[in-house]
């Protein structure tokens, strides 16, 4: 361990270049993964609140376009295993000077999932606002949504960025704005074994489709698009990181030919040189990972508190994501170093020394 650290200290400039190229790559992977995780996580949490089963319009690709008849709610409530049914209208509209804000029309029985920090739950032509958007709009008493004026009856706090930056109103008020009676039903069950209940709900009306919330989230196209985009960008960042390391390590190997020639001349095997170089890069990768993790937390905090994002971009670095990126960073170091290291270990020692000397 001492020798790689000494070598890194000796080659400070190149060590720093490798370090920063890895920090950029790892931070990019962290941020894109954390943001996509955050978006998926926020929306998933929102749907899972009081929702073992989600009911949407059959064959619709996005919950925002879903339109189902509110009257089905009573028929679902009569199914024996059903504990409660929440009706929601999911929409987005300009609010005052903000170009797009999440608007949630909800049935009265869902109000208590919004924890009020001031005021009361809304009556007709009233709304409650998430704390973030309430602050952004300078604590308004009234707001205009789609040319209609609503009184602000209360403010709630939510860990879900879409809600904290959104506006909640009664379902019938939402219905007037978005011209639909309901977007989705969220059904909570007495007994979590839901298979029969799903079949029962699906038999009620051919225009609706019931799924477990988990199944819906796993197959939700928007999440797949976000996840795939995130994976592609992460893969590109990984590749850029690897290429950065390969090019830097090629320069390092070039600078240190004499050193490797000497090692070979005293009988150190090729694998010692490979292990030594890989160990050096892994050490850099570990420090770069720690730095990138800290940097990502700072950037995510800044994004979360940047007004123009309205709290909708809410990065989430979970332990499993952190662990995955740690192994990715180490892998990046190994893959990026192997090629130059193998080259350095295979050349005749004398060629290394002569090429390095002149």
């Amino acid at each position: 361990m001492i020798t790689p650290l000494k070598a890194l200290r000796k080659n400070k400039f190149k060590t720093a270049l490798i370090f920063f190229s890895m920090v950029v790559a790892i931070s990019a992977i962290f941020l894109i993964s954390a943001i996509s995780n955050g978006i998926v996580g926020m929306y998933s949490t929102m749907l899972k609140t009081d929702g073992d089963i989600i009911v949407t319009q059959r064959g619709i690709a996005d919950t925002f376009f879903s339109d189902i008849n509110y009257t089905i709610k009573k028929r679902i409530e009569k199914i024996s295993n059903v504990k409660e049914v929440n009706a929601l209208i999911l929409g987005a509209a300009p609010v005052d000077n903000l170009p797009i804000v999440g608007i949630y029309g909800v049935s009265e029985n869902r109000f208590d999932s919004y924890k009020l920090i001031s005021g009361i739950y809304p009556k007709s032509n009233e709304v409650i606002m998430g704390q973030k958007i309430y602050k952004m709009l300078n604590s308004p008493k009234k707001i205009v949504i789609s040319k209609k004026e609503f009184n602000v009856s209360g403010v709630f706090k939510s860990k879900i960025g879409f809600e904290d930056g959104g506006v909640v109103m009664r379902l019938d008020d939402g219905s007037k704005i978005f011209h639909k009676s309901t977007s989705i039903f969220l059904v909570s069950l007495k007994d979590i074994e839901s298979k029969n209940t799903i079949t029962d709900i699906n038999h009620l009306n051919s225009d609706i489709e019931a799924k477990t919330t988990d199944n819906f989230i796993d197959n939700y196209n928007q999440f797949k698009i976000i996840k795939t985009s995130s994976d592609v960008i992460s893969a590109l960042a990984f590749l850029m990181g690897v290429l950065g390391i390969v090019s830097m390590m090629s320069m390092v190997v070039n600078d240190r030919k004499v050193e490797f020639g000497i090692m070979r001349s005293v009988g150190l095997p090729s694998k010692t040189i490979i292990i030594k170089l890989v160990a050096e890069t892994i050490i850099i990768a570990i420090f770069a990972y720690i730095f990138a993790l800290a940097l990502s937390y700072i950037v995510l905090e800044i994004i979360q508190n940047t007004q123009k994002f309205q709290g909708y971009i809410n990065g989430e670095i979970t332990f499993s994501l952190g662990a995955l990126i740690f192994f990715t960073s180490v892998l990046m170091a190994i893959v990026g170093t192997l090629l130059p290291a193998i080259w350095a270990s295979r050349v005749d020692p004398m060629s290394l020394i002569l090429r390095g000397a002149y």
Partner: protein, 212 residues
């Protein structure tokens, strides 16, 4: 251990560096390979010491064909030491760490070597903190750490003044069980060699013995 080279040819690209060289290095002798710059001394030394593969020809250490040795690194570690003109100590290691770099586990003569070579008080210093002569002594200690049969030295006195240069050869004389093969164009120190191999334009021009 005797070293035999048979019909060695070597090219760098299309440049023919060594021409059909055959020779034998006797054990426990100091052999000087002399010749002008560009005569092929360094290339021959590198090939004889296994640091460079010849384009054609064979090298035997006793009856062992060098190209047949599977673990050439271990063979080199046990039997061959190398001293370079520019010392080539690894600069982020102390003199002692440089000397121990290729030491076999069973090598227990590092302290003794350091003492014999007169660098005991410098052992924990780095290469850039000591003089050229002291660096060269450390490089020689590194070559001798596993008590090899052969030590190859390429212009070992090239960067030293006369006093230090003679000191190096006197040091070589202290290690009587080791054969030293030295490439040099320093005429002052040729007198210390037992055998002289003269090279010219990649050919061995003459081999002569100075002592019996």
């Amino acid at each position: 251990m005797t070293l035999r080279a048979n019909n060695i040819e070597h090219f760098y690209g299309s440049e023919h560096i060594l021409h059909n060289i055959s020779l034998e290095i006797m054990p426990k002798k100091i052999t000087a390979i002399i010749g002008e710059s560009g005569s092929g001394k360094t290339t021959l030394l590198a090939i004889l010491s296994s640091l460079l593969k010849p384009t054609r020809g064979t090298i035997y250490y006793d009856d062992i064909l060098l190209s047949n040795i599977k673990n050439i690194d271990l063979f080199r570690k046990k039997n061959i030491g190398f001293v370079f003109q520019f010392h080539y100590l690894i600069d982020y290691l102390t003199l002692k760490e440089n000397i121990a770099l290729g030491a076999l586990k069973e090598s227990d003569n590092i302290e003794e070597l350091i003492k014999t070579l007169g660098i005991s008080n410098l052992a924990n210093r780095y290469g850039n903190e000591v003089s050229g002569g002291e660096r060269q002594r450390a490089a020689i200690a590194r070559a001798l750490v596993n008590s090899p049969s052969f030590v190859f030295a390429d212009e070992p006195t090239g960067n030293l003044d006369t006093k230090n240069a003679i000191g190096v050869f006197e040091l070589f004389r202290n290690f009587k069980d080791t054969s030293f093969i030295v490439a040099t164009h320093d005429k002052k120190i040729i007198d210390y060699a037992d055998i002289i191999i003269e090279m010219e334009d990649g050919y061995v021009k003459n081999i002569s013995s100075q002592r019996t």
